[in-house]
C-alpha cells in the first residue's frame, strides 16, 4: 500500500504532466491556427483575385464580375492607358474594339447605376500617381458616359456602400479580404476547378443575351411612370448639375490636360424620353443637356459626343429595356470615337442636336406604341 508521501508525489506528477500536456496543446493550437491563417491569407495575397496588391499573375484564370470589389484593384494594378468610366451604359463595350480602332489598351471600370460621386471615386484611383498602373502608363484617354438623369443627384450620393477595405490604404482592415471565404472559394478555387477565367475585354457584359433585345421584351417589362401634372421649371436641376460637374467631374479634366476625355451622352431609347415627358421635366432635361455640353466644351482636352438622336433609338429591337442598348451600338460608338462622327464641337451645334432630338420625340407615335398589346 502506498503511503501518503507517494500519493502526493503521484498527484504532483500527474498534475505536472497534465500541465505540460496542456501547455503543448496550447502552443500547438496557436501554431496550427496561425499556420492556417498564413496559408489562407498567403494564397489570397499570391493570387490576389481583386488585384488589390499586384498585377495579375500570368496564367491564372481570373474571374472578373464584381465591379464594387474589383474595379479599385484593377484601376491601381492593371496595365492600361485608357479607361471606360460610367454606368451600365458602358458595360457592353468590348475593349478589343478600342485596341482595334484607336490603338488603346483600355480598361473597363463600369459601375452599374453609377452616380457622379461613384465616377469621381473611380477616377481618383485611376489618376493616383502612386499606383502601379500610373507608374507604368499615363492615362491617354478616358471614355466617360454622362447620364443626365443622375447629374442632379446630391454630390455625395453613391449607388452602393463600398467595401472600404478595398478602397482605403489601411492594411489592418485588409483582413476582410485576405481571410474571406467568398474570395477563396469563388474567385480562387472555383476558377481553378472550372479552368475558365473572364475575358477582360468582355468583363461586366450585361446578362441579357441577344434574345432579350427586342420590342416585345422591352414593352412587356416597361413600367410607365405616372404622369406629373406640374411641369418642372426649366432651371430646376441646373444648380445640382453644376455642383456635380464642378465637384465630381471637371477637376479631373482640368488637372489632366494631357488626357483626352471622351464624354458621351448614351443613346437611350425613345422610351426614356417618354419617361421624361411623363415626369413633366422635358424642358428642364434639355436645359441640363445644354448646360453640361456648354461646360464640357470649354476644355481643349474634351471630345463630346451626342448619340441620342441616332435613328436606332426609335427601334426598340435594339434595346433590352427603356435605356440599355445592344452591343452593336457600343461598337458603333467606338467607331465614332475614332472617326469623330456624332462629335459636338460647339454649344450651337449641341443646340442643333437637341432640336433634332426634340423633332424625333415629337414625331414618334407613342400612342401607336402603347395601343398594342405586348
Amino acid at each position: 500500500m502506498k503511503d501518503n508521501t507517494d500519493l502526493s508525489k503521484e498527484k504532483l506528477n500527474t498534475s505536472s504532466n497534465n500541465s505540460r500536456k496542456y501547455r503543448r496543446l496550447f502552443i500547438s493550437f496557436w501554431a496550427i491556427l496561425l499556420a492556417a491563417f498564413v496559408l489562407v491569407g498567403g494564397v489570397v495575397v499570391y493570387v490576389d483575385p481583386f488585384f488589390h496588391y499586384h498585377k495579375p499573375i500570368p496564367g491564372f484564370p481570373y474571374v472578373v464580375d464584381n465591379q464594387l470589389s474589383q474595379n479599385p484593384g484593377m484601376a491601381r494594378n492593371m496595365n492600361y492607358d485608357s479607361c471606360i468610366i460610367g454606368s451600365s451604359m458602358t458595360v457592353n463595350f468590348d475593349t478589343d474594339d478600342f485596341k482595334e480602332l484607336m490603338g488603346l489598351d483600355t480598361l473597363k471600370l463600369s459601375c452599374s447605376g453609377a452616380y457622379p460621386r461613384d465616377d469621381y471615386n473611380m477616377l481618383s484611383i485611376v489618376f493616383d500617381q502612386t499606383s502601379y498602373a500610373r507608374k507604368s502608363n499615363p492615362v491617354e484617354a478616358v471614355f466617360f458616359a454622362i447620364d443626365i438623369p443622375v447629374m442632379a443627384a446630391d454630390i455625395d450620393t453613391v449607388k452602393y456602400e463600398r467595401p472600404e477595405y478595398l478602397y482605403d490604404n489601411n492594411i489592418f482592415n485588409d483582413v476582410k479580404y485576405v481571410l474571406n471565404k467568398d474570395v477563396i472559394m469563388q474567385y480562387i478555387f472555383r476558377p481553378i476547378v472550372q479552368r475558365q477565367g473572364t475575358d477582360l475585354s468582355e468583363a461586366y457584359f450585361s446578362w441579357w443575351t441577344p434574345d432579350y433585345y427586342n420590342i416585345q421584351w422591352v414593352m412587356h417589362t416597361y413600367e410607365e411612370p405616372e404622369k406629373v401634372e406640374e411641369e418642372l421649371p426649366a432651371d430646376a436641376m441646373l444648380e445640382a448639375t453644376k455642383e456635380n460637374l464642378e465637384e465630381n467631374i471637371l477637376p479631373f479634366v482640368e488637372e489632366h490636360p494631357e488626357t483626352q476625355f471622351y464624354f458621351f451622352f448614351p443613346p437611350y431609347s425613345i422610351l426614356y424620353w417618354h419617361n421624361v415627358i411623363q415626369e413633366n421635366s422635358l424642358e428642364a432635361t434639355f436645359v441640363q443637356y445644354s448646360y453640361v455640353a456648354y461646360r464640357l466644351l470649354q476644355y481643349g482636352n474634351v471630345h463630346l459626343f451626342y448619340f441620342q438622336n441616332m435613328g436606332e433609338v426609335t427601334d426598340l429591337n435594339n434595346y433590352a429595356d427603356y435605356s440599355h442598348y445592344k452591343r452593336e451600338i457600343n461598337r458603333y460608338m467606338v467607331e465614332c470615337f475614332a472617326s469623330g462622327e456624332h462629335q459636338v464641337f460647339t454649344s450651337e451645334q449641341m443646340q442643333m442636336e437637341l432640336d433634332k432630338m426634340r423633332g424625333i420625340i415629337n414625331e414618334f407615335d407613342f400612342e401607336d406604341l402603347f395601343s398594342k398589346d405586348w
Binding site: 496542456y22 496543446l25 496550447f26 491556427l33 464584381n66 474571406n180 471565404k181
Partner: protein, 495 residues
C-alpha cells in the same frame, strides 16, 4: 461589436485577454486584484459597447444613472429603516424608493420598445439586470452597494448583449474566484473549443438557414407544402443555432476570464413536454421571471387557479418582452396555455409524472419530443411572422398540399460554396434537383446536431483534450472566421 466579427476575434479579444491577465496578475501580487479586474471589465466592456455608437452608450449611461440614484439612497434608507405613512399604511421608504427605481427602468424599456426612434442595443437585457440588482440590494441579498462591482456586473461584455441573465450574487462569486486564479492552459483550450462551436453555430448554421427563412417569409404564397413545413422547421433551427451559438461564445469568452456563466440552453429541442422545454430554453430568463415576477405575484401560494393565471401572466410578459405586436403575444399565449394544461395534467393525473423525463421507452420519448418540437415550431411561426395573417398564410400553405420546387431564394441560400464542391466532385450533380439537395443536407445536419449532439457547454468541460479537439477547434474557427465577411454582391442585376 458582435462576437462573430473580425474586429472582436482578431483584435478586441486577444488584447483584452492579455490586458486582463496582466492586470489580474499584478492585482493578485499587490492584493487589489478585484479592483483591477473590475476596472479592466468596465473599460473593456465600454469599448466593446461603444462600437455600437455613442447614442447606445448614452442610453446605457442614463440607465446606470437611474439605478445608481436608486441604489445609493435606497441602501442609506434601508440601513436606517425609515418609514412613512401612505394611504394609512406604514411603508418603509426604501421600498418605495425601490418601486420608483423599478418603474423608471420599466418606463425606459417601454419607451424605447414602443415609441423610441431606435431600440438601443441590449436594452432588454441590461434593464433586467438592473432591476435584478436593485431588487437584490433591497432584499439584502447584496451586502452593500459598490460602484465598481455594480458597473462590472452590468457592463460585463460577454453577457451584455444577449445574456445570459445572471444574478449579482452569482456573478460576484465568480469574479471573486476569478481574482484568485491565474491563466490556465486547459481552461483556455476548453473555452476555445466551446467558442469555435458557438461561432460555427452562428455563422455557418444560423446565418445560412436565416437567409433561406427570410427569403420564404418574404413570399409566403409561393411555397409548396413541403417547403412551408421546412421553412417553419428551419426557423426553429435558426433561432436555436443563433441564440445558443451566441450563448456558447459568451460562455467561452467568460470562461477564458475565469468567470463561469450559467447555462442558458440545455438541448431545448430534446424536451419531452413544454414544461421540460422551459427548463432548457433561455433558462436564465425563466429564472428571472420566476424570481422577480412569478413569486412576487404569489407564485403557487394563492391557490391553483391563481397559480395558472400567474403562469399566463409570465408568458404574456415574456411575449411582450421579445417584441411588440400581437404575434409575440400569441406566441407567449400559446406557450402559456400549453404550459398551464401540462401543469394541470401533471397535478391531476397521478401517473402523468411530467417532471420525470425518463418515463416511457425510447419510442414514446421520441414521440413526446417530436410533438413538443412541432408545437414549439408552430408557436415560432407567430414569433417570426410580421403579422398574424402572414403566420396563417404559412399554415395555409402547409395544408394546401401539392409539391413544388423550392423557391429560388430558399434554394440559393443553401448553395454554399462548400456544398458546391461536394456536388461537383460527386455524381449528385447529375440529379435534376441537385441544388435542392443542399437544403436537405442542411436539414439533416441541423437535425443531427440539435437532437443527437450533447450540450456544447457540458461537452467542452468533459471532452478529453488532445490533438483531435485542437484540430477541430482550429477547423471550426478558421471556417467561421473566413465566413464573417463575404464579398459584397452586386444586387443591381437589372441595372
Amino acid at each position: 461589436m458582435v462576437f462573430n466579427s473580425y474586429e472582436f476575434v482578431l483584435i478586441f479579444l486577444p488584447i483584452f485577454l492579455l490586458a486582463y491577465n496582466v492586470l489580474r496578475s499584478i492585482g493578485r501580487k499587490k492584493g487589489n486584484a478585484r479592483v483591477l479586474v473590475d476596472l479592466c471589465i468596465i473599460l473593456g466592456s465600454l469599448c466593446f459597447y461603444a462600437l455600437f455608437g455613442m447614442r447606445n452608450l448614452a442610453i446605457i449611461f442614463i440607465s446606470i444613472c437611474i439605478n445608481v440614484c436608486t441604489a445609493i439612497p435606497m441602501s442609506f434608507m434601508r440601513e436606517r429603516g425609515i418609514g412613512i405613512s401612505l394611504f394609512g399604511r406604514e411603508i418603509l421608504i426604501h421600498k418605495l424608493w425601490l418601486s420608483i427605481g423599478v418603474i423608471l427602468n420599466v418606463v425606459l424599456l417601454l419607451f424605447f420598445k414602443l415609441w423610441g426612434v431606435f431600440l438601443p442595443i441590449a436594452i432588454s437585457f441590461y434593464t433586467f439586470n438592473q432591476i435584478s440588482y436593485i431588487v437584490d440590494l433591497e432584499r439584502g441579498d447584496i451586502e452593500k452597494f459598490d460602484i465598481m462591482n455594480y458597473l462590472a456586473y452590468i457592463l460585463f461584455f460577454p453577457k451584455l448583449l444577449q445574456g445570459p441573465l445572471m444574478g449579482y450574487g452569482d456573478f460576484d462569486k465568480e469574479v471573486k474566484a476569478a481574482c484568485e486564479k491565474s491563466f490556465d492552459y486547459e481552461i483556455f483550450l476548453r473555452a476555445m473549443y466551446l467558442f469555435s462551436i458557438g461561432v460555427f453555430k452562428k455563422v455557418i448554421m444560423a446565418d445560412t438557414i436565416g437567409r433561406a427563412v427570410d427569403a420564404n417569409f418574404q413570399w409566403l404564397v409561393g411555397m409548396g407544402s413541403i417547403e412551408a413545413v421546412l421553412t417553419a422547421v428551419f426557423y426553429s433551427f435558426q433561432l436555436y443555432f443563433d441564440f445558443s451559438g451566441y450563448c456558447d461564445m459568451a460562455a467561452a469568452v467568460s470562461m477564458m476570464l475565469g468567470i463561469e456563466l450559467p447555462i442558458n440552453f440545455d438541448s431545448p429541442y430534446k424536451a419531452v413536454n413544454i414544461v421540460d422545454f422551459w427548463k432548457r430554453w433561455h433558462i436564465t430568463l425563466t429564472r428571472f421571471f420566476t424570481k422577480y415576477v412569478y413569486i412576487p405575484l404569489g407564485g403557487n401560494r394563492k391557490g391553483e387557479v391563481r397559480t395558472y393565471i400567474n403562469f399566463m401572466i409570465i408568458f404574456l410578459i415574456s411575449g411582450f418582452w421579445h417584441g411588440t405586436g400581437w404575434t409575440f403575444i400569441i406566441w407567449g399565449a400559446m406557450h402559456g396555455v400549453l404550459y398551464v394544461i401540462t401543469r394541470w395534467y401533471g397535478k391531476h393525473r397521478e401517473n402523468a409524472k411530467i417532471n420525470d423525463v425518463s418515463v416511457g421507452g425510447a419510442i414514446v420519448k421520441g414521440i413526446k419530443i417530436l410533438l413538443t418540437f412541432i408545437y414549439v415550431t408552430a408557436a415560432w411561426v407567430f414569433f417570426r411572422a410580421e403579422t398574424i395573417e402572414d403566420a396563417l398564410i404559412l399554415f395555409g400553405q402547409i395544408f394546401k398540399g401539392g409539391v413544388r420546387s423550392f423557391s429560388n431564394g430558399f434554394s440559393a441560400a443553401f448553395q454554399i460554396d462548400e456544398l458546391w464542391y461536394i456536388l461537383k466532385v460527386t455524381p449528385l450533380m447529375k440529379l435534376s434537383n441537385a441544388w435542392e439537395l443542399c437544403a436537405w443536407i442542411f436539414f439533416a445536419c441541423s437535425a443531427v446536431m440539435i437532437f443527437f449532439f450533447p450540450n456544447a457547454v457540458r461537452r467542452c468541460k468533459e471532452v478529453k483534450l488532445g490533438i483531435g479537439t485542437t484540430l477541430l477547434t482550429v477547423l471550426l474557427l478558421v471556417w467561421s472566421i473566413v465566413s464573417f465577411g463575404g464579398v459584397s454582391t452586386f444586387l443591381y442585376m437589372n441595372f
